[in-house]
């Protein structure tokens, strides 16, 4: 066992018992980054000096005999579409390659208040549009289990960093699966909270009715710790719910007796790799043997989820990304004749192909001739998808499925056909449309590549999700497998 394989709660014990100082821990993680990140390429920017400075503050508190918070001194990586004051935040786009935010996202302020050290900013698909990090304008992140394969996306850098021991925990964002799918591909825990539980103030918006921020961790306990630290109402985010944060740590109970688990048959249907299906069926059997009631159920509108997500997601993206005009911040194309020419050239040169594709699609479905047929129709389909979940949760406490129909794919495998790539969102996009919470955790391996188990829950019932996930983890041990890198 190496130090870089330990979880935040294990490292916390070492820190408070003075077996390790926070400065040593941070130096150690930066050494690890230096050793592996040439191969993995998870980080865009490292913030070593400020991390060490904050670590020394934590050490002084420990020396003075003060009780430190559970995450104090723990190195955390932040996806590079989450603003960090004074630290370059690019969204992996040429458009923002020199952008230095004048403020920090609420989640960053909350983590800093919890005492974490920020190791750096991680790679993503440009503006979080993608499922593989292949759309980053800078470079591609590799899967630590097999560097010929993608880490998933769009939060691929955060998932790969946690997986490779280049950060203890990380934050990502999830609009159609961008936390859960890379967590599944890299064999770590990733959670998308209920819409409104975690503030998005300072998140570079992709699609505001679908965007969520959430944690990547090596186990469910750390997931609860990070979620506890970042959730809660924020007056700066008008979509933030007035909901008192429960004690997520108290949900970590190794007991699912009597829990009712539904398995939507649509998520186990065509397109799912046989080995993935087998791993999910084994998870179902395990829950059953631990006293849960596990049954197949149905979410009949699932077949419309990816298309609905594509329409709403691209429509909102075309609106969110209208702000990149070359005036106040970001890239501006030189040699414009007039202001319209500047807008056109700036956006034509500053955005990559996937971003332009989605802006074009979004603008088209919102245009007067198409609004009713596509956009309004998709908003109605969204209602039906949400009602499917409402009905299912009348009967079940948790829904169980694969996170992704396949393990991590190879580079270039899906880049040929954009719609094929979008299909990798098939198990995850519905919960963004409905706003319900979902967690992905490792549940097996296919040829040494991790498989992810997804659990979805009722609104603001992260507690039950964490309890089910914790029970699964404590009775399996897949979270203790590490890639040889």
């Amino acid at each position: 066992m190496h130090l870089y394989q330990l979880t935040a709660h294990e490292l916390h014990e070492l820190l408070i018992n003075k077996e390790l100082s926070a400065e040593e821990l941070n130096n150690y993680i930066f050494d690890r980054i230096e050793a592996v990140d040439d191969q993995i390429r998870s980080y865009i920017t490292l913030t070593k000096e400020s991390a060490l400075e904050r670590a020394r503050v934590v050490d002084k508190q420990i020396q003075a005999g003060a009780k430190i918070a559970p995450l104090a001194g723990i190195p955390v990586a932040i996806k590079d579409n989450i603003c960090t004051k004074g630290v370059r935040t690019t969204a992996s786009s040429k458009m923002l390659s020199n952008f230095i935010p004048p403020y920090s996202a609420t989640v960053v302020e909350k983590l800093e208040a919890a005492g974490v050290t920020i190791a750096g900013k991680t790679n993503l698909d440009e503006f979080a549009m993608g499922s593989s990090t292949e759309n980053s304008a800078f470079f591609t992140t590799k899967n630590p289990w097999d560097t010929e394969r993608v880490p998933g996306g769009s939060s691929g850098g955060s998932a790969a960093a946690v997986c490779a021991g280049a950060a203890v925990c990380a934050l990502g964002s999830d609009t159609g699966g961008s936390i859960r799918q890379p967590a599944s591909f890299c064999g770590v825990v990733g959670l998308k909270p209920t819409y409104g539980l975690v503030s998005r103030y300072g998140l570079i918006a992709l699609a505001s009715s679908l965007d969520h921020i959430g944690p990547f961790t090596r186990d469910v306990t750390d997931c609860a710790l990070i979620l506890e630290a970042i959730s809660g109402n924020d007056p700066k985010d008008s979509t933030s719910a007035s909901y008192k944060t429960p004690d997520f740590f108290a949900s970590l109970i190794n007991d699912v007796r009597g829990l009712k688990i539904g398995v939507p048959e649509e998520y186990m249907a065509a397109g799912i790799a046989p080995e993935v299906r087998l791993a999910i069926e084994q998870a179902m059997s395990l829950f059953e043997s631990l006293g849960a009631v596990v049954e197949y159920t149905t979410l009949p509108h699932t077949e419309y989820a990816v298309v609905t997500y594509q329409i709403i997601g691209s429509a909102e993206a075309s609106s969110s990304l209208a702000r990149y005009d070359g005036v106040r911040y970001g890239f501006r194309a030189p040699d414009a004749e007039d202001v319209m020419d500047m807008f056109m050239k700036t956006r034509g040169q500053g955005f990559g192909p996937e971003v332009k594709r989605r802006i074009m699609l979004g603008t088209y479905v919102l245009s007067a001739e198409c609004y009713d047929d596509y956009y309004l129709k998709a908003l109605k389909a969204r209602t039906l998808i949400k009602q499917d979940f409402d009905r299912a949760f009348e009967k079940y406490d948790v829904l169980l499925s694969p996170t992704s129909p396949t393990p991590a794919f190879r580079f270039g495998e899906k880049a040929v056909d954009p719609f094929h790539m979008y299909l990798s969102d098939i198990c995850t996009a519905s919960s963004n449309l409905a706003g319900i919470p979902g967690i992905s955790l490792p549940c097996g391996f296919v040829d040494r590549m991790p498989v992810g188990l997804q659990l979805m829950g009722r609104y603001f019932d992260e507690g039950t999700l964490l309890r089910a996930a914790y029970t699964f983890e404590q009775n399996t041990g897949y979270h203790q497998e590490f890639p040889e890198i």
Partner: protein, 93 residues
């Protein structure tokens, strides 16, 4: 069926200068994606209300009081072209 002329029109609405090659590519890809979108037509939504946001949120108000705000210097720090306290842009009219 979307033509290259439609793509031109949408590109202007979206303020995107596209190369000839991009126009060709997006014409094909938009047609492909829109074909997948046709599946939604099968869905009967006659009596269904649209959902724009999932939570029952109403307008959020606060007192109209001056709070913390970023300084003028910070607000202008990322500006590609600055003239004193203004963002400078090419001619508009």
């Amino acid at each position: 069926m979307i033509t290259e002329k439609d793509v031109d029109h949408v590109a202007i609405l979206a303020r995107l200068a596209l190369t000839g090659k991009e126009k060709e590519m997006f014409t094909k890809q938009l047609n492909d994606v829109l074909e997948h979108f046709q599946s939604l037509k099968r869905l009967n939504t006659e009596k269904v209300q649209p959902t724009a946001y999932v939570l029952p949120l109403r307008n959020i108000y606060r007192e109209d009081q001056v709070g913390d705000h970023i300084s003028l210097e910070d607000a202008l720090a990322n500006c590609p072209d600055r003239d004193e306290n203004y963002f400078r842009v090419p001619k508009i009219v």
